[in-house]
Amino acid sequence: MHIDWKNREIVFKIVYYGPGLGGKTTNLEYIHAKLNPSLRGDLISFKTKEDRTLYFDFMQMDLPPINRKKPRFHLYTIPGQVQYGYGRKLVINGADALVFVADSQKERMDENLASLADLEEKLSLYKKSLQKMPWILQYNKRDLPHCASITSLQSKLNFLKVPYFEAVATNGTGVFETLKGVIQMAMQQV
């Protein structure tokens, strides 16, 4: 969190974490597409030729001033692919709150767990942990066949009983609810 007293702005860093192809970038793309253009900046993506995130995606979201204080949010995604661990370490530095975007498909459970373990490891580099960090879960791709039940996902991934949201990021279901949820989590920590 960064407070700029001169311009009376408060800036939060929100990071979308999760396994590759889980829908992190799709979340940001949907937010960018649907948000009033006066409230957001460009969506910046560093992508490989295969359209996979290389470093991170970034977009800025502004809200109207409240009592002449301007809330601003920097939304980042991390590169989900295993080989881009450095990018994840870089992006997670200074995050105020996290969204873990889990892929609901049964066959992706191992990737979800590996990514969650990777998140804990990356947080530990900054002397943080999932227990202390504000974060929420998004169970994405709820429209696909072979989805694990929410009960099963909860028992395997949500061992800390953080808030969770069901989502279909491709059509926007649950996307803004997730964003509002994580912003509220970040606020609670202040």
């Binding site: 960064h2 407070i3 700029d4 007293w5 001169k6 900046g41 409240i66 870089l90 530095n93 105020d96």
Partner: protein
């Protein structure tokens, strides 16, 4: 006077006095170099202050990308030499260049300048400005600046309202 509230880990609060001091250093540097833009940012990608022409440039986005690039360069340094020792990074463009350098390990200075400005001159003046900034930042003492002065219960409840409006709930 003071600057950072490290008791809140990553919650950084700069006082108005600090801003004025930083602004003056950035303004002097930017003016003397006839640079397009000079940004002072933290390693989390937040622009702390800037001086220059921001027309058609989104400061927040440029800073996030620049700090990402600078951090990636430092990681390259660590890979090839075992330590983060790329203090300066220069990107040369056809019309404008970008020069970045480390300030007190926690901050980055980003300069955008035209091709007509000699890179050596940029390095020289930036080095002087960075020395001033580093000395100033290092000399700052801890101060408890209450974040709740900025975020009170009204702010929180109004924020929820604004989020609902923005998200169409």
């Amino acid at each position: 006077m003071v600057v950072e509230d490290r008791s809140h880990d990553n919650k950084m609060v700069f006082s108005e006095t600090t801003y004025r001091r930083i602004s003056r250093i950035l303004y002097e540097l930017n003016t003397r170099l006839k640079a397009t833009l000079t940004i002072f940012a933290d390693m989390n990608g937040y622009p702390i202050d800037y001086s220059g022409d921001t027309k058609n440039i989104n400061i927040n986005t440029l800073t996030a990308v620049a700090v990402g690039s600078f951090s990636a360069s430092n990681e390259m340094s660590r890979m090839i030499s075992g330590e983060h020792n790329f203090e300066h990074v220069l990107h040369e463009g056809t019309r404008r260049n970008v020069y970045m350098c480390n300030v007190s390990n926690d901050y980055v200075m980003v300069l955008v300048f035209g091709r007509a400005v000699p890179v050596g001159f940029v390095r020289l003046l930036t080095h002087t400005a960075v020395s001033k900034l580093s000395q100033y930042l290092d000399s700052l003492k801890m101060q408890n600046r209450n974040v709740s002065r900025f975020i009170d219960s009204h702010f929180r409840s109004q924020l929820n309202h604004e989020l609902d409006q923005a998200f169409g709930f």
